[in-house]
């Protein structure tokens, strides 16, 4: 099955090195980064993870180039997007990418002491545990969302029987995982309550500071931004999820700040959220200075 569709699907982020200069010292010359199928294929949780990594790389001031392919999930060494490809190494997911980048000499969390590093790791786990799992739950275990959005998006690049088969297979896998960690019996309301609790904790931790660890952003900021921004700007069957986040004004200000500093017009890049190519069911995510809005095509 996977071999059959191997040539079809891919979402990934490339970091390419400059072939004409030596690799000593500078290991990244330019990184290309574009989302081709954002409008059609990518799902909420993948989008959040990818945005988090992108934000982290922007914060490290590394040149990136985005490449989107339909079979990125299968290209990735751990089966998850996003992943980076630099030289002859491929690294996926935020944790290993942070370590990899740190090994090459770029780190955002060097200035933290031991206790703060412990806290940072704990908060990252909180986000992964609660927000990411809630996103997965919402898009694979909530029947309304599954039927309307997820199935069609997940199976988008494939011809007729394959799109349904793959979507059902993935749904079965995610449901199995949810059951193993105890989320199988949760209702949507309980999941939303967990999201609210998580946002409350993040909001309390952030307080009035610009970033979580005062003046400088760290990987935690990147991760939180990735998830919150995606939640705020993705239109689902209902707005309950984004409403939970909108209750906390300092989190909204935080997202806006990072977006302006690292993705703004005068920033170093832009969040490439325009859809291209075939139009099935698409959402254009647009950034409005006064708030976050989504339009549906």
């Amino acid at each position: 099955m996977t071999l059959m569709c191997n040539f079809l699907r891919l979402k990934l982020i490339f970091i390419k090195n400059d072939y004409f200069s030596s690799l000593e010292g500078t290991f990244l010359k330019w990184i290309s980064f574009h989302f081709l199928f954002t409008g059609e294929q990518i799902l909420l949780s993948d989008n959040a993870s990818s945005l988090a990594v992108q934000a982290f790389l922007q914060m490290c001031e590394l040149p990136i180039k985005v490449v989107c392919r339909a079979n990125a999930e299968y290209m990735s060494p751990s089966g998850k997007v996003p992943f980076i490809h630099v030289g002859n190494q491929v690294v996926s997911e935020l944790g290993p990418i942070v370590q990899f980048v740190k090994a090459k000499g770029h780190s955002l969390s060097d200035g933290l002491d031991e206790v703060q590093k412990a806290e940072m790791k704990a908060y990252m786990e909180l986000v992964n545990n609660m927000l990411l799992t809630a996103e997965l739950y919402l898009q694979w275990c909530d029947e309304a969302t599954v039927g309307e959005i997820t199935h069609s998006r997940y199976g988008f690049p494939y011809p007729w029987p394959l799109n349904h088969i793959l979507a059902y297979q993935k749904q079965w896998e995610v449901k199995r995982k949810m059951k193993a960690i105890g989320w199988g019996n949760k209702t949507l309301d309980q999941v939303l309550e967990d999201v609210d609790q998580c946002c409350q904790a993040l909001s309390q931790r952030l307080g009035t500071q610009p970033y979580f660890f005062n003046k400088q952003p760290t990987e935690l900021d990147a991760l939180v931004f990735g998830h919150l921004f995606t939640i705020l700007t993705t239109q689902l069957t209902s707005d309950e999820l984004s409403d939970k986040v909108k209750n906390y004004s300092n989190l909204l200000a935080f997202c806006r700040r990072i977006e302006q500093n690292y993705f703004g017009e005068n920033g170093k890049g832009h969040i490439p959220l325009r859809s291209q190519g075939k139009k099935e069911k698409q959402l254009i995510l647009s950034l409005d200075q006064s708030g976050y809005t989504c339009e549906k095509l």
Binding site: S78, K80, A118, E119, A122, E125, N129, A180, Q200, Q204
Partner: protein, 358 residues
């Protein structure tokens, strides 16, 4: 009345885990519970038989998720003990449902998080004096524990063959009635393996050995982080225990105290002296056992006695009177260090089910 149920205590030469003793202490804080404690203690006399029967009926027939099998009972019990809720730990043998379970009047609450919420709604709250930020930190550290430490704990207890067949399986099987004792430990073990493989066993780890290596590495890192966070203070947020202390204790204490053949993680815990000191402190404050069973020769005798204990509801009227006395004599606020009730040695009885009698 709040009745407490969790799965078996130790037997044989096994674990030091002290889940079977009664702990009633007025620990951290009892907010707004002036009248209700004595009410509850009065009410203790009443529906004992009723709640016992209720509990029996309420044994769920369908299996539910059993994660945090090991951390859960201990953790919730510690927290309950700290808060001074009048606990009657009742071990009901068998049961294919969740553990731990808290039964109070006609409420049955089943998972540690829900139990803590329930206690909080009854106005038993250990986090009352924490700032908002510390509350957020609690949530974050709990997530860290569940994500990094729990797989390794599950592995140590349920999947590592030596440990499982020598310690865990006999321990649980001894407290479950015959036909189920053959089935349930195996099922719990499979569930633990399933959980680990589904959450951690993705590529590039294709082999169980690599997954194991990864989860033990994560667990050691997590323990180091906890140790860094604890530093030299007595509890995680100052000098009074909170929910986070209960959670950490629930995870770390079994690792620290249970005698395992394969002791990889235990060695690591023993090297972190402040975590060991933390566990010992909590054990001595909140899990103190009867003087008769205690000998200066140390924990071994203690454990031997604990192993004979099944559930202790020994002298109920003494208990209630003592609680009432304490309540009347002591000031309500600020919370004091606990006068834990000493148990008399009626806990030599080792029958498996103690019928409640007023």
């Amino acid at each position: 009345v709040i009745c407490w149920r969790h799965s078996g205590t130790s037997s044989g030469a096994g674990p030091r885990d002290p889940p079977g003793s009664l702990r009633v202490g007025r620990g951290a804080r009892c907010i707004g519970k002036v009248g209700s404690l004595s009410e509850a203690s009065a009410a203790l006399r009443l529906p004992l038989v009723g709640s016992g029967a209720e509990r029996r009926r309420a044994l769920p027939g369908h299996p539910r998720s059993r994660r945090r099998q090991d951390g859960g009972p201990l953790r919730a019990q510690v927290l309950g003990g700290r808060l001074g809720a009048p606990f009657r730990p009742q071990r009901v043998p068998g049961g294919s449902g969740d553990v731990p379970i808290l039964t109070s009047e006609d409420n049955i609450v089943s998972q540690p998080a829900k139990i803590l919420n329930f206690l909080r709604k009854q106005k038993y709250n250990a986090d009352y004096q924490l700032s908002a930020k510390q509350g957020a930190d609690t949530l974050a550290y709990i997530a860290l524990l569940e994500e990094k430490l729990l797989p390794a704990v599950l592995h140590t207890f349920w999947i590592e063959n030596d440990n499982y067949f020598t310690v865990t399986k006999p321990w649980f099987a001894s407290r479950i009635p015959f036909p189920l004792s053959l089935i349930l430990p195996g099922r719990m073990s499979k569930r633990a393996l399933n959980r680990i493989l589904l959450t951690k066993g993705e590529p590039p780890h294709y082999h169980l050995k690599e997954v194991e290596a990864q989860i033990y590495r994560d667990a050691k890192e997590c323990l180091n982080l906890l140790s860094n966070r604890l530093g030299t203070s007595q509890f995680f947020f100052g000098n009074t225990p909170t929910t986070l202390d209960a959670y950490v204790f629930g995870f770390v204490a079994p690792l620290y105290k249970v005698h395992f053949p394969k002791v990889q993680l235990q060695e690591h815990v023993k090297q972190l002296s402040n975590l060991c000191r933390f566990c010992d402190d909590i054990l001595s404050c909140y899990f103190r056992i009867s003087l008769a069973g205690f000998s200066p020769a140390g924990q071994d005798t203690v454990d031997a006695n604990l192993q004979k204990l099944t559930q202790l509801v020994n002298k109920e009227s003494n208990l209630i009177e003592k609680m009432d006395d304490n309540l009347r004599q002591s000031p309500q606020l600020p919370p004091r260090k606990l006068p834990t009730l000493k148990l008399t040695t009626a806990d030599e009885e080792s029958n498996s089910f103690q019928p409640l009698s007023p």
